[in-house]
């Protein structure tokens, strides 16, 4: 794959993440979705899969394209594609923060980690380092969740 193809795959990965918000499944299916999004100009499936497996790709997606992609550690080895983009509306952010996620799920993306929540999820900490209720988050989702909290706090509405 040349540089143009790589940029194209990155853009369409972010687009697929925005479409599904939180995807969980096999890498083959994910590659199929991304190639379908690109259309006829898509690179070969094994090239896309190799490109997505690279750590550099996953870091670039998270830092620049507001998209998290990783392979989970549990026995299912499922791949996760999370859209980290947050709303700019404080009222919507307050509504998202008020939802009560299941006990073993990430509060931001709502993906359940059955039996693995103590290893893959971290408890939310407020600005003083104290733990907030029973909110558990993926390490990649912490930044977006924190951003929702700040958005609500600065708008002056009660949480």
């Amino acid at each position: 794959m040349n540089e143009a193809d790589k940029a194209c795959v990155l853009r369409h990965t972010a687009h697929v993440a925005k479409h599904f918000i939180a995807y969980r499944g096999s890498l083959d299916k994910l590659v199929e979705l991304i190639r379908y999004s690109i259309g006829t100009a898509a690179p070969a499936p094994e090239d896309v899969a190799h490109f997505l497996r690279c750590e550099s790709t996953q870091k670039l997606l998270e830092s620049t394209y507001e998209t998290a992609l990783w392979c989970s550690n549990d026995h299912t080895k499922s791949w996760r594609l999370i859209c980290l983009a947050t709303t700019a509306d404080p009222a919507a952010a307050a509504r998202l923060l008020a939802r009560k996620a299941p006990a073993d799920a990430c509060a931001f993306c709502w993906q359940q980690e059955r039996g693995w929540s103590d290893k893959t999820l971290v408890p939310e900490q407020d600005v003083g380092g104290a733990f907030v209720g029973a909110v558990l988050l993926h390490p990649t989702c912490v930044r977006s969740w924190r951003r929702l909290r700040d958005l609500v706090a600065r708008s002056g509405e009660p949480v």
């Binding site: 940029a7 194209c8 990155l10 853009r11 369409h12 972010a14 687009h15 925005k18 999004s37 620049t64 394209y65 507001e66 983009a85 947050t86 700019a88 509306d89 404080p90 407020d126 600005v127 003083g128 951003r147 700040d150 958005l151 706090a153 600065r154 708008s155 002056g156």
Partner: protein, 161 residues
Amino acid sequence: MSKTLSDQVEQEAPAAEKITPLVRSAVQFAESRNNRFSAIIPREVDKVRLLQSGLWSVVSDQFRSMDRIDCIWADRSAYAELLVIDAGRGFCHVLLLNHWPLPALLVSTEGLPPGFDIRYEGPDAEAQWCCYRLADNVRMVCGKPSRDAALAALLDSATLR
């Protein structure tokens, strides 16, 4: 000329008096003499209110004079350093040493200038996150991979300088 020289000699005479050096006990580790506290400040407290004694009335008995207090606003909007001048049970005189307003959240509408809109326009290279001027629907910025990047490009553009 000679007059000025003698004047100088007369002026230097009192400066020659003996300097008393500091004794060994005058210097200690800062940690053994003073504390450095960290306080979380509610978001509605402003800079003036921060210096008033009433805010610190419950906690002030643990302060001693010349302690520092690092203040973190709970919504991460600002950071301040305070120097405790005098403190006791129920009162506290503090001096504001530094106050840094932290950068605004780019994601929120407070960073966006009025009359502009930011939207996600699909995965194409020249679409992605775009900024529009609402008055005439001109696309100011396009092809940015995230909302923050689009907003930063919009704020950099020459029309907003």
